[in-house]
């Protein structure tokens, strides 16, 4: 390829296999929108166990979802894909330069992944994904109640931390990218009260919803309840 035929880096199409009701897939979609990266998504139907097939194992041997392909380069899992999109995308990196903010960013990512993600997944499984696979399925209310209690604790700590801060590490960072789908899935799954009751967390969520890339609301790339039920994964441009 000649020097003058080089594509602008954010215009090079990137392929991603994921599922709309999958939290980590949504983190990647959201970041792609924020960074202006053209993402060509393909449905990986985890409800149909497509992530257990030999074809997917060849790409992602440990069943890490989502899986990204850019030319010959293939990588899977949110931890790897997010920084890849960040570097490929527009503008400055989301990684803070200051040590204290970097530590804070990663602390809140770890809290989210360890303490919030499994509980959000429980809500998704019980209230959305299992009923999608089996319309006669009765959600386990005890599991749902325990998940709501755990999420409530995490959100109360996040609310306290966000007092006086616009974003988790003061500046907008990867920590915010991780937390957006947690609140989004609570909201669309009928647990919006978990956000509404915490004023600082709600203000943060409102700021997130107001963010734009050009004329597009970046939050709008996250799948709605209907899109998840229809297994529809959006194209991000």
């Amino acid at each position: 390829m000649g020097l003058f035929s080089r594509k602008k880096k954010s215009q090079a199409g990137i392929h991603m296999r994921g599922f709309p009701g999958h939290v980590d897939t949504c983190k990647c979609l959201y970041l792609a929108a924020e960074k202006g990266v053209t993402l060509d998504p393909e449905l990986l139907d985890v409800t149909g166990l497509e992530h257990k097939t030999d074809a997917f194992h060849a790409l992602s041997p440990f069943e890490k979802i989502p899986c990204l392909g850019d030319g010959d380069f293939v990588i899977s899992g949110v931890t790897a894909i997010l920084p890849y999109i960040d570097v490929k995308g527009d503008g400055q990196s989301l990684t803070p330069r200051k040590a204290a903010r970097l530590g804070e960013q990663n602390y809140w990512i770890e809290v989210g992944q360890n303490e919030v993600l499994p509980l959000v997944n429980t809500l998704l499984e019980e209230q959305l994904l299992k009923p999608m696979s089996d319309p006669a399925y009765t959600p386990d209310q005890e599991k749902i109640d325990a998940a709501v209690t755990g999420i409530d604790r995490a959100f109360s700590l996040a609310d306290k931390h966000l007092q006086g801060r616009d974003y988790f590490a003061s500046d907008y960072t990867f920590a915010d990218i991780h937390w957006v789908p947690y609140l989004h899935f609570c909201d669309i799954n009928g647990h919006g009260e978990l956000v509404e009751k915490y004023p600082n967390l709600k203000s943060w969520f409102d700021r997130i919803k107001a963010r734009k890339k050009g004329a597009m609301s970046t939050y709008s790339v996250l799948p709605s309840l209907e899109q998840i039920k229809g297994k529809e994964l959006r194209y991000v441009a």
């Binding site: 440990f62 990588i75 602390y107």
Partner: protein
């Protein structure tokens, strides 16, 4: 100040003044970090390795997780979810391996550890993720069954089923890493965070008596032989492997500090 951090060179107010100045500002030439962790805990080891690799002097003290110190009200003030280890520098606290490793790296001397190239950065994180999700839980089982539980109860009968399950679960990720290392000196080519994550786990495999899982894989073994003599990434004449707690240290609940002499 939280009393759990009342140890090391910067614990007294006079010492703090010497290290940081009255303004409390942190300068790279005036640091001493404090790390609170446990010697049989992989995440604590990762933070110690990072400190050595980045040339950051660190005073260490043991947080006795076997006695539930990580659930004490004092510790939960620092780390509300009880994430171990915890780190303090001047007025700054952070808990958990991810926050601490990145903090130490950014405070460290010399060039930065994470690659700038997008593909290499993604690869570094992929292999770190595989270590944490596929290897870490199984190493925890082996250390618990073979080292920690017998420390707590001298007549403890090891759960051989749990040990066998953990060893079997390690086959796929260790095979994958062995294959990856066939073409690379370090996991993604140059030394990176991925090597730090795997060093902690492979070290604990040897200490738990499961080193055969490494010895049977030639590329992995050759990599670990290189790690054992790897001089600090920041250029100091210190080797991270030398300060890692050996079996005897774990049993005595001893944690080394990071001392760097050749600035």
């Amino acid at each position: 100040m939280n009393e759990l951090f009342a140890f090391g060179r910067t614990s007294g107010s006079e010492a703090s003044d010497v290290s940081y100045g009255l303004g409390g500002d942190m300068k790279k030439t005036q640091y001493v970090l404090q790390l609170l962790g446990f010697p049989g805990h992989a995440d604590t080891l990762k933070c110690l390795i990072t400190a050595v690799e980045m040339g950051m002097e660190t005073d260490s003290a043991v947080l006795d997780v076997m006695e539930g110190q990580d659930e004490s009200s004092e510790y939960l003030e620092i780390s509300p979810y009880g994430m171990v280890p915890a780190l303090k520098e001047a007025d700054y606290y952070v808990a958990g391996e991810s926050g601490i490793m990145s903090y130490i790296e950014a405070r460290g001397l010399g060039k930065r550890l994470p690659p700038k190239n997008a593909a290499l950065l993604a690869e570094q994180n992929y292999w770190s993720d595989i270590a944490c999700s596929e290897v870490g839980p199984n190493i925890k089982t082996l250390v618990q069954e073979r080292i920690l539980a017998p420390m707590h109860d001298s007549v403890y009968m090891m759960n051989t089923d749990a040990i066998e399950t953990a060893r079997n679960a390690l086959i796929a990720p260790l095979d994958a890493l062995d294959k990856q290392l066939a073409k690379n000196t370090f996991i993604i080519g140059n030394y990176s965070f991925a090597d730090i994550h795997w060093t902690a786990y492979v070290h604990l495999l040897y200490e738990s008596g499961d080193g055969d899982l490494v010895d049977n894989r030639p590329n992995l073994k050759a990599w670990f032989d290189r790690i054992r003599t790897h001089k600090s990434f920041s250029g100091q004449n210190v080797v991270a492997y030398d300060i890692l707690p050996k079996l005897g240290d774990i049993k005595k609940k001893q944690l080394n500090s990071v001392v760097i002499d050749d600035f």
